[in-house]
């Protein structure tokens, strides 16, 4: 309280602000907003996982129709609640005032995925049209994400889009670099990344949920750079350094965009991947000039290059802050 009075006396805050502080002092308020959100998310995660295991283990005793009816009821109930309680569609960002509806939508989307997977697994609902089994939920998830302006559901939709294309974008798979170490899959990942990056720019261009651009670029950047680096590992030909150059080039383009948007997250991702590509290129070039056995050249790279990179990050951060 005293500090606000001092700030008011110094003319740094308005009388209105000081009055609010005085009111707050008389009638203190403690918000549990963050904690309730945390409990909601933990509840959804635990319930969906627990029910998933429970259903899987009791398929024979519960009966398929009962399980289907239960999941359908949960999904329909969640979507009904969301449609009833959320505000109408807007092109721009909507500030959600109903926390429960946000999380219930999320729960509904998870249930929908379980329902469709169950239908396909048990009743062969989509027959041999496997693409359809992932395409339909992808379309529904994208619709839900745009209709209710939910970035979490958009992330789920992108994950499903990847599944429809035949690849997985879960962090374990992406950073494990195991499954994508297969040549045809690398190009599927590259196509997916380019599609996402295009979607990011189109969102901004047409002003349709422009704030979704970040999510598209987040997935697009990681997938593109990781698949390019994996291509370097997978193709051991004498021209595989081209993939490293492509990584640096695409990182440079996205870096420019990150700088324009003042998004330090996007800038750092590009610097991170470009640095890895540059380091591999340096090691490779040492091999070509028959100097790879010299430990000093190896160590000096890892002293000089991080110093330069740290200096660049430091200066860039200071510049963007101003």
């Amino acid at each position: 309280m005293k500090k606000y009075q001092k700030l008011y006396a110094a003319g740094l805050i308005s009388a209105e602000t000081l009055n609010r502080v005085i009111q707050l002092q008389e009638k203190p308020v403690f918000s549990l907003h963050r904690e309730i959100r945390m409990i909601l998310y933990a509840g959804i995660l635990m319930l969906s996982t627990g029910l998933g295991i429970l259903i899987y283990q009791n398929l024979d005793s519960i009966g398929h129709q009962v399980i289907l009816a239960l999941i359908t009821a949960i999904t329909a109930g969640c979507f009904w609640y969301t449609f009833k309680n959320q505000s109408p569609y807007q092109q721009e960002k909507q500030n959600s005032t109903n926390v429960a509806a946000d999380y219930i939508l999320l729960f509904g989307c998870v249930s929908l995925l379980s329902l469709l997977a169950y239908l396909q697994f048990q009743y062969d609902f989509f027959g041999t049209r496997y693409g359809l089994a992932t395409f339909i939920p992808t379309v529904i998830l994208f619709f839900m994400a745009y209709r209710f302006d939910h970035q979490g559901v958009l992330g789920m939709a992108i994950t499903n889009l990847a599944l429809w294309m035949g690849v997985s974008v879960s962090p374990q798979v992406l950073f494990g670099l195991t499954r994508i170490n297969e040549s045809p899959l690398i190009w599927t990942y590259v196509s997916l990344a380019l599609l996402l990056i295009t979607a990011a720019y189109l969102s901004e261009w047409f002003r349709i949920k422009p704030h979704f651009k970040f999510i598209y670029l987040h997935f697009g950047s990681h997938i593109l750079h990781l698949s390019m680096l994996t291509a370097w590992f997978a193709y051991s030909g004498s021209y595989n350094w081209i993939y490293l150059l492509l990584t640096i080039f695409s990182a440079a383009l996205l870096y420019k965009n990150g700088k324009r948007e003042q998004s330090f997250y996007l800038i750092l991702i590009q610097l991170f991947y470009a640095y890895i590509a540059a380091s591999i290129l340096y090691m490779d070039s040492l091999k070509w000039i028959h100097l790879s056995s010299d430990p000093y050249l190896f160590i000096l790279w890892f002293i000089i290059s991080p110093v330069l990179l740290a200096r660049h990050i430091y200066q860039l951060h200071k510049k963007l802050k101003q």
Partner: protein
């Protein structure tokens, strides 16, 4: 003693407090800007991501420099000289840290975090290694006591000099370990002394930190003091946690150990976090509330570890449903503020970054649909070389 100019530290504390309270006071961005202008802070404080990036790069630089030094002076850094080499690396890192903080005013910037950890790590390893060579006849308990005290002393210096919250936790943990080891040396059969000792330690720490005189003297270390209180709460909560007591007992007196007064330990495991949460809601303490929630989660995990009656999936579904119901009721109940509690903040701040982080977490953690790819080798449920089915 602190390496940073005290005026800047105080100004930073004021600005951070104002920013933390903005969601309640409704102070405008322009007013915060004016306050920041009138209270200049000379530090370089980057965002979390930049901090993480600078941390990683500093670690790479330090390890590469150590490798270069080892190559250049390889002959000197062998066998018995290795502890001295570690001490030298530690000293060099420390000098770099002093320069970064004093001249370039890096404050929780990643570079200073990395140098703090690496220099203290090198120094501590050097000291312990050197000591091990000279005191091979020491008993394990005496050795633990020495190691804990050395850690406490070295990290305490970093707390005094750089006001580092991380080093505060390390220092307090080492001091607690030293205290408990000393208790065990004095009375090796008194296993029950350990939880009481931990509780005594936590209570003493709270008493010291909450002492108003101490608070006035240590204004520059307010972040360290806050961390110390949280540490004391965790120590008190875990001191009588059933799992911690059981595992500590088994470690010290063999696998046949049975926790004495098990009901008391079980009651404490669940009641202490609830008391913390209740007290936090009454006193409006976010720190205590978070500690209570974490301790309650620990209590749930403890129950899950020992419970054999309720299957895991039932427990998970039940707990999930309970949490959903609880949050639903809370949202309804706190639609309008009651008893000083609210479901929303009075002046919501721009939370774009938080939404982005949430969406990334959701896509990475929520269950995903599996791919429905055709089986390439379908057909045949039995037969074939002794394999049972599905081949």
């Amino acid at each position: 003693m602190i390496v940073y100019p005290s005026e800047s530290v105080k100004n930073l504390q004021l600005i951070q407090q104002i920013q933390d309270e903005a969601a309640y006071t409704g102070i405008t961005a322009a007013e915060i800007g004016a306050i920041a202008k009138a209270h200049p802070v000379t530090f370089y404080i980057p965002t979390f991501l930049v901090r993480a990036g600078l941390f990683l790069l500093t670690v790479v630089i330090v390890f590469a420099s150590s490798a270069l030094l080892s190559l250049l002076f390889g002959g000197l850094m062998r066998d018995k000289n290795l502890p001295y080499a570690l001490l030298l690396f530690g000293l060099l890192c420390y000098l770099a840290l002093e320069k970064l903080c004093k001249k370039y005013q890096h404050y929780q910037a990643g570079t200073d975090d990395a140098l703090t950890l690496l220099s203290s790590g090198f120094l501590l390893t050097g000291v312990l290694w050197l000591h091990e060579i000279n005191t091979q006849s020491w008993s394990p308990s005496a050795w633990y006591l020495f190691a804990s005290l050395s850690t406490a002393v070295i990290s305490l210096w970093y707390v005094i000099r750089f006001a580092s919250p991380l080093m505060t936790i390390i220092s307090a943990s080492a001091l607690l370990m030293a205290f408990l080891t000393a208790l065990h040396i004095l009375n090796p059969s008194g296993i029950l002394l350990i939880p009481f000792g931990a509780l005594f330690f936590a209570a003493s720490l709270c008493y010291l930190v909450l002492n108003t005189k101490m608070k006035a003297i240590l204004t520059l270390y307010s972040s360290c003091l806050a961390v110390l209180i949280q540490f004391a709460v965790f120590t008190a909560g875990l001191a009588f946690n059933y799992y911690v007591a059981d595992q500590t007992g088994k470690e010290l007196s063999g696998t046949t150990f049975q926790v004495p007064l098990p009901y008391f330990f079980w009651v404490w495991t669940f009641v202490f976090p609830l008391v913390c949460i209740g007290y936090a809601l009454k006193k409006h303490s976010r720190m205590l509330l978070n500690s209570g929630i974490i301790l309650l989660t620990a209590a749930g995990l403890t129950f899950k570890y020992y419970d054999t009656l309720v299957p895991f999936e039932y427990l998970l579904s039940g707990a999930g449903a309970l949490l959903l119901l609880l949050s639903w009721r809370l949202l309804k109940w706190l639609k309008n503020p009651r008893y000083g509690l609210a479901g929303q903040v009075p002046f919501p701040q721009n939370n774009t970054d938080q939404e982005r982080v949430d969406s990334i977490i959701i896509s990475a953690t929520l269950p995903q649909q599996k791919q429905h790819l055709p089986d390439r080798f379908g057909g045949g449920n039995f037969g074939g070389g002794g394999s049972s089915s599905d081949f």
